[in-house]
Symmetry: C2
Subunit: 473 residues, 2 copies
């Protein structure tokens, strides 16, 4: 009775195995397809990544010429390997990161080479038995101290790689010196090949389609302010408008945009750090005030935290009464939209590096709206309503007030930046690409009166709900 069963089982196992084999090309095809799609996405996301990859290939190929050509090889021999190694390790995406790593590596090799040769000399004085012990002791002490220094916060941010190379070079030179008496020549060869590799990296990263960390940082800050502006616009749409299918989808993505800002601290600090290594380029001088950008970044995070709290209110179940909603709508919208416009002016101002005087007007407008809102809240219109239906609108208003104040601080910091860097006085507004301006903003502009918004206080209790949505479509 068993044999048919086992036969069947065998057939089953074979059948399944065969199916796996048959499915293999399909699985493989899907995997390859997935990788191709991912590659396309990564490349489309930032085409400079492809260029960077080609640059790395070019740099390594160039440096490996040392091996192919006899005269070059005769000079350096096997040490030419260090040049290849340096290129692989030092070449980074941005010029600043490459320069920072290259300089760290060169300086650390220089310092550790000198110390290593000294340690070797000292140890060789102590006779044949003492030498390995003394060298071992030196290596241990140097590695322990240097590893400890890596924990210093200031060192960690800027010189971490340098310390690593220091430990490496000191250990290699003092230890190899024990076997190879031409320590000086070895140190010299290591230093010069590292110098060659490092300068090849730096040259290629500067002169072939450079990606400047400073420029990246500059535009990333502008982008962040734009995201904040978009959020405020989308929030007004979402909160003060009866939802329409088509619009709300776009708004949802704008309402998520600020999430990328929440966790931007570490990437910003890295960029600022790389940017500090870079020489002057384009509109950026050597000692460009990158710390001011960090301040603007920190403020935009502050703003994003409030927005996160605000967005949470949209999702919560406790809806305020439509009546109150409607009453504060006009002024809240005004405040948000003016702040949003101010942010977008600042974006243009940063991108074009020109003064944007009109941002101040929008800030003044939003502050005026804030004042009106406060006085509206102090009025006696509210006696009839129960407090609970006030909770959500009042919280929204309160958070918006915070955000408007934060926007003002951002505008101040951008103005400080503009005055330090000496932005062109030519008005940024003229360079501004066509933005979808609401009739409201045009009115404010025509009057050129920062307090124009106080006029709006009148129709506050008239029919509402649609008016604002029409204004900023």
């Amino acid at each position: 009775m068993e044999s048919p069963n086992t036969n069947q089982e065998k057939a089953g196992v074979l059948g399944r195995a065969w199916e796996h084999v048959k499915a293999l090309p399909e699985v493989l095809r899907k995997k390859v397809w997935g990788i191709c799609k991912m590659s396309k996405e990564v490349a489309q996301d930032d085409p400079r990544r492809v260029i960077h990859s080609l640059k790395v290939g070019l740099a390594i190929s160039l440096v490996s010429l040392f091996y192919y050509y006899q005269p070059l090889y005769e000079n350096f021999g096997l040490s030419a390997m260090w040049a290849v190694m340096t290129v692989v390790v030092v070449f980074e995406y941005t010029v600043g990161a490459t320069l920072g790593k290259g300089l760290n590596r060169t300086m650390a090799t220089l310092a550790a080479g000198a110390l290593g040769v000294g340690a070797h000399y000292l140890a060789s004085l102590s006779g044949e038995t003492g030498e390995p012990i003394l060298i071992g002791f030196f290596v241990f002490v140097q590695a322990a101290i240097a590893s400890f220094i890596r924990f210093f916060p200031k060192v960690k941010t800027r010189y971490d790689y340098g310390i690593l190379v220091f430990i490496l070079t000191f250990s290699l030179i003092s230890v190899s010196g024990f076997r190879d008496d031409e320590v000086l020549e070895m140190a010299h060869k290591r230093l010069s090949t590292i110098f060659i590799g490092g300068s090849a990296c730096v040259m290629i990263s500067i002169f072939v389609c450079p990606v400047w960390a400073g420029e990246e940082f500059h535009y990333s800050i502008a982008e962040k302010l734009e995201i904040l502006g978009d959020f405020l616009e989308a929030f007004v749409d979402e909160y003060f408008t009866t939802s329409k299918e088509g619009d709300s989808k776009d708004n949802k993505s704008f309402l998520e945009g600020h999430k990328s800002i929440l966790n931007s601290k570490s990437s910003e600090e890295a960029l600022a750090n790389f940017a500090r290594w870079e020489p002057g380029h384009g509109k950026f001088k050597f000692r460009h005030p990158w710390s001011q950008y960090l301040k603007i970044g920190a403020l935009s995070r502050q703003c994003a935290y409030r927005m996160e709290a605000l967005k949470e209110l949209l999702n919560s179940n406790t809806q305020g009464s439509p009546e109150i909603h409607c009453t504060i709508q006009e002024l809240c919208s005004e405040m948000s939209l003016e702040s949003s416009k101010a942010l977008k002016k600042l974006v243009v101002s940063i991108r074009t590096m020109t003064m944007a005087s009109s941002a101040d007007i929008h800030i003044a407008n939003s502050k005026a709206a804030l004042k009106s809102l406060k006085s509206l809240l102090q009025s006696n219109l509210w006696k009839e309503t129960d407090l609970f239906s006030l909770v959500q609108p009042v919280t929204v208003a309160s958070l918006l007030i915070d955000i408007v104040e934060c926007t003002e601080e951002i505008a101040d910091s951008v103005n400080v930046l503009a005055s330090i860097v000496d932005f062109d006085v030519e008005d940024a507004d003229e360079k501004s690409p066509k933005t979808s301006q609401s009739p409201n903003s045009e009115c404010a502009k025509n009057d050129n009166n920062p307090h124009v918004v106080i006029l709006i206080e009148e129709p506050v209790l008239s029919d509402c709900g649609k008016t604002t949505s029409d204004q900023h479509k």
Copy 2:
């Protein structure tokens, strides 16, 4: 007439130079003193850093034995250098990071070594003139493709270092192969020395005072919840109590604590990533659910964002009327303190890895207080007050409601974690260290009735302002 002047000038320059020289020891002394102080701080902050530094020294000294002992040196020769190099580069602070780097380096060397030997073989088929061209082409293509792959997000987080070593090894082996015909031997030596260096690192990092990334991650999450709990306690003290000099200083530091959570995303992800490489240790198994910790971390950041908004209200000028302040105080304090207690129970539960059923009671209490607060807000007590004086208290209440809801989500996630990891059923409360419990909480505990707080609704409008401050001193 000139000579006295120049003499004077000379004397002046010399004098100043002499002063600089005289000041030099003082300046140097200060610098050295500063470094010593900094070292002491870094070491006191986490004494394991000193141990780590000594471990690195030990590992490098051990591996450099290859050079000192003749039999070992005969086997590997100059390649022994790779072992030293591997130790310097691979040894990291936590076991997980060291293991991750070591495995990445070994696997990448293996793969790239095989491919490099293959490339060398292919190139050598094409004759003397074709060989360098073909090798150059291979190196270029592999470096470009591998550099591009480094941009893939998934690869970047886990295998970035592996790809770097892949490029390095492939280039070195295929390029060196052009000069040195013993390519196979070279590849073999590189692989085995890297293996030796890597395993020395891993052994030392596991067996000598190990620092487990998983354990760090586990306790860091508990610490975060504790910070959130401290904030809520301190907030109640600060906001609902007339300020006393001594207390407020402590509170200020608690009110700043959540800032460390705001930007914790990248460090948490790094720790989770390292932890995944680690074998089972202590209470943590190999496939410990680290992603659940990431979820708790994300929720605690959500909570911290609200707290940031809440803290901003404390600093703002718009103070609410003391009357309303006083009215909602009782319930807001109740809500916050119960949430704080729940968080602290969860902290103990995570730290001891035991179930904490009492956290649920506190959560239920805070939810009951939330309900009472809502019904209080719906009552008709508010008709007499103007809205503006309501803004701040209502916003505080609203944000606190958000925070309480967030705390609930955190408790749920911790419970999920407890059920996945199978926390001990033994009650965590017994293991809890003596925490400063308010009389209020004791009452809630004695009754063991989650709805006890509803009783408090009665004295809401009685004398207040001092009672709460006394309750949780």
